[in-house]
Amino acid sequence: MRYAMAVDTQKCVGCNDCVVACQTENDVPIGHCRDWIVEVTTGTYPDLGLEIRSERCNHCANAPCVRTCPTEASHYAAGGIVLVEEDECIGCKACITSCPYDARFIHPEGYVDKCTFCIHRVEKGQNPACVSVCPTHAMIFGNLDDPNSDISKAMATRKWKSLIPEAGTEPKVFYLL
């Protein structure tokens, strides 16, 4: 089982619903977020392009945060989901420094926090909160090892990219183009 997410940049309108849904679902303190929106404008008026992406922890298969964590608080859980065991976390920020995606932050209670792919929902067969609320159905979550999963089908039929592939982290959040 390899959990992954695909964000359809053709559908994403950058409304931030994923951000606020994550905050309420996971009780993320105001002022912090586990997912966020990036908008990239290209070209000169009136020949313009705009890419909008909902970004979060990439749950990398070769995660630098897991490698650098001195206490093994950052670890791989079921389906390759990268989690932080907060009681083991000493707040040294090695993982924050090593993450090329800037996906982690220090929770006001002192440990490192980030996206969990809503593992508590996934275990019940539900989508992560961000996926479940997205008004334009721009996000697909599923198992890459299952060729019949929606995400596998989307990846097989659409052009896609991942972020900073040259970092060799093997990210598992993909952007459909």
């Binding site: 309108v13 619903d17 606020v20 105001i30 593992i119 159905h137």
Partner: protein, 744 residues
């Protein structure tokens, strides 16, 4: 146990709980089910959202301590399809906001100075009842008006109708969608309504003129646009700004602002002259085609190019794109359409273009909505008022179908030309200082009032001017009327309290009934409490409060003789117009002395060094209503002014610098605004999101953040047909200090 600990435990047990028991037991009224950990329960209560007018139905989830945890969409709701927008998801912030109005307040200082004393509900009601009685005795009850936005308005509306006035105005008419309703009624005999009757889901081509779906998060249409484009529909967006939806469009027409009418006329010219219109449909249903053909004969794409800056071949190509999709094409009427003062005529042109394409009453075009026939709890007949707001405007705005908020405001400013000016305002849930253009005029009107009552959940600019402030509890803490909205399928939706009202706040129904009782008008509110009223009303449609608490949304069947697309197969149909036809040539407009066919009028252009002020929406905010919401301000806590890089270079502006905006009348924004240099805006315009620049320091998160476009809208172009306030004819320049003249 808090939520975070719970996640951790769930994480440790990874895999073992997969596909456990369903989260909710749908057979029970109070839906309780064990979550992943024993003792962790969640309960859900139905609601419909109050953060915007879309009123999406959803569920409020509370944890085992009875605290509101999150809000999600109701899968049976056609407004939300189970998915709320960011504002609906973040609606919980409206409840938790610690700056909320907490208890009734009575003004003790000068209007606008925000000096109040706390009062009991009884004191507040007595003050209001005495004030209303005095106005009725001295001037007549018709001199009281209600301004309203939102659910509570129904109860205060009944209150002032019982009192003897029918002056009930929503700024959503004359400051927003009014011209569209009038333009479409003049053409089809029916308006577009809300939610808009557009069949985006099944369209093949969607044309948006200034509509910025995605940034404007009208939930249903945004969802349907994604659905339609996923099935191959194309979008044509006309906007001087490269909006989010422009970036998703096959064609983006970066039009010179204020010239849309020329484009619409040229499109009609191409569609008629290239024989692209739906001939059978026009022959069967339309009146005045030959007049229209002659009218647009000279309005070629080459003519329009000189006005709009859109190349002739692009005008032709986009007209053909629409015609290829016909009849499954929607030239969208937009919603906030009070732009230049000839807005009813522009929306007439939109309506006519749709008719040429045969899209009205057709799949993928405009559908015929259905609504549950819903009876309100019986009350005695309301007294017949002797006067209405219209008497203040003899011979003007003859096609205005609803009261004009701006008109009532104008008719409050004392004038020797009128026998009676308005003396009392009840303002429910609308921050008129930011809603109405021309603040100076609004303040003059307020100054002339004998009584002003404001009902809101939050302190706003308008609350500062009130004599009495009544603190309403949020939509998460109250019942309201059943939502009975028109849609493809008729539905009803329930809102009920998910938590007890915080502080000393109360629902609108309780306030209106209390004031009515104080005034001896209690018999108009003959129910014991809201539950009794709702129970009676639901019984009439074969439901009950118990059922609605369980379902949240109840679906009804459409009548068989009420087709969704009555023109699909060219069946006979009589339109509610003078001719019984779709009026390309409007006899109603002609009868009232307005142009029966829309004409292009050149609008004023920005003077040298000034830029047209364009304003719009951000997906995570609804006007003032969300300005201080902790969850939503966390996503966006100030607006910025979008400036084209060429303009920025001329003025030596830097990204992120703060400056003030000054308009053509020398009015300067009250607060500074951050510069955003972006290619996404035309060189002759600037853009900002509406709803920021709050000056009430009781809004701790919103105070002084960003600037208000409303401050700068001092020039208003009134629509002669229906009194809409055109607000896009204001021009701004940059200034680098507050309150001083520019040196260069």
């Amino acid at each position: 146990m808090n939520r975070r600990e719970f996640i951790k435990i769930a994480g440790v047990g990874a895999g073992s709980l997969a596909f456990a028991t369903p989260l909710f037991d749908f057979s029970k009224e109070e839906i309780l089910a064990p979550d992943a950990h024993p003792g962790m329960y969640s309960k859900r209560t139905p609601t419909y959202c109050e953060i915007c007018f879309w009123k999406c139905a959803g569920w409020v989830h509370t944890n085992d301590k009875g605290q509101i945890w999150k809000i999600t969409g109701n899968n049976d709701d056609p407004h939300s399809n189970g998915r709320l927008c960011p504002r609906g998801t973040g609606g919980v912030g409206m409840y938790t906001d610690e700056d909320r109005l907490k208890t009734p307040l009575i003004r003790t200082g000068e209007r606008g100075k925000q000096v109040f004393r706390e009062a009991t509900w009884d004191e507040a009601f007595t003050y209001i009842a005495d004030g209303l009685k005095k106005i009725a005795e001295e001037h007549g009850p018709e001199c009281v008006a209600l301004f309203t936005h939102g659910s509570g308005g129904k109860y205060f509306g009944d209150l002032i109708k019982a009192y003897g006035s029918k002056n009930i105005a929503a700024p959503s008419y004359a400051q927003c969608r009014g011209p569209r309703e009038v333009g479409f009624i003049a053409t089809y005999g029916e308006g577009v309504q809300s939610p808009e009757r557009v069949d985006i889901r099944d369209t093949r081509c969607l044309v948006l003129i200034g509509s910025h779906f995605g940034e404007n998060m009208h939930n249903g249409p945004v969802q349907e646009i994604a659905q339609a484009t996923g099935k191959g529909a194309t979008i044509i967006t006309v906007d001087p700004r490269f909006s989010t939806v422009a970036s998703k469009s096959k064609f983006w027409l970066p039009i010179k602002p204020a010239t849309d009418m020329a484009l619409l006329l040229a499109w009609m010219h191409v569609i008629i002259n290239e024989d692209l219109y739906d001939k059978e449909y026009i022959e069967k249903y339309a009146y005045g085609f030959e007049d229209l053909k002659a009218h647009v004969a000279q309005m070629t794409p080459e003519w329009a190019y000189g006005i709009t800056t859109i190349k002739p071949e692009v005008i032709r190509e986009t007209a053909r794109e629409m015609a290829n999709a016909s009849p499954r094409v929607i030239v969208h009427p937009g919603r906030h359409v009070t732009w230049y003062g000839d807005d009813t005529q522009r929306l007439r042109a939109v309506a006519m273009l749709n008719a040429l394409l045969g899209s009205w009453g057709r799949r993928g075009g405009y559908y015929y909505p259905a609504k549950v026939s819903f009876k309100s709890f019986p009350h005695p007949a309301f007294p017949k008022p002797a006067r209405s707001w219209k008497d203040a405007f003899p011979g003007k705005y003859k096609l205005a179908g609803l009261a004009l908020a701006s008109g009532i405001c104008d008719a409050t400013v004392p004038s020797s030309e009128r026998d009676c000016s308005f003396k009392g305002w009840i303002v429910n849930g609308t921050n008129l200082i930011h809603t109405l253009p021309n603040q100076e005029n609004t303040l003059k009107a307020i100054d002339a009032l004998d009584l002003m009552v404001v009902i809101d959940t939050m302190p706003m600019e308008i609350t500062g001017y009130a004599d009495v402030i009544l603190p309403e509890c949020t939509y998460l803490e109250r019942y309201d009327n059943i939502r009975v909205g028109p849609h493809r399928e008729p539905t009803i939706a329930l809102r009920m309290p998910a938590a007890k009202p915080k502080y000393n706040t109360k629902p609108a129904w309780w306030m209106a009934k209390g004031i009515a009782e104080k005034m001896g008008l209690g018999h108009y509110f003959a129910w014991k409490d809201i539950e009794e009223k709702l129970e009676w009303e639901l019984k009439q449609v074969g439901s009950s409060l118990e059922e609605m608490k369980r379902l949240g949304v109840k679906k009804f069947q459409r009548d068989d003789d009420d087709p969704l697309y009555p023109m699909e197969d060219l069946d006979d149909f009589e339109f509610y117009t003078n001719t019984g036809k779709i009026e390309l040539y409007s006899t109603a407009m002609e009868d009232e002395g307005y142009d029966p066919l829309p004409k292009y009028t050149a609008h004023e252009e920005p003077p040298y060094g000034y830029y047209r002020l364009i304003y719009g929406r951000a997906p995570m905010h609804t006007f003032s209503r969300t300005a201080n919401n902790p969850n939503l301000t966390d996503l966006m806590d100030e607006n910025s002014v979008w400036v084209n890089p060429k303009v920025a270079q001329e003025w030596d502006l830097k990204n992120g610098q703060y400056l003030w905006l000054e308009n053509q009348d020398g009015v300067v924004s009250k607060t500074p605004i951050k510069v955003r240099i972006t290619e996404r805006i035309r060189f002759d315009s600037v853009y900002m999101v509406h709803g920021f620049g709050h000056t009430n320091n009781k809004l701790t998160r919103a105070y002084g953040r960003g600037a208000s476009d409303a401050d700068l809208i001092t020039k208003v172009h009134i629509d002669p047909v229906m009194g809409g306030t055109g607000m896009r004819g204001n021009f701004v320049t940059f200034r680098f200090e507050a309150g001083k003249e520019l040196s260069s």
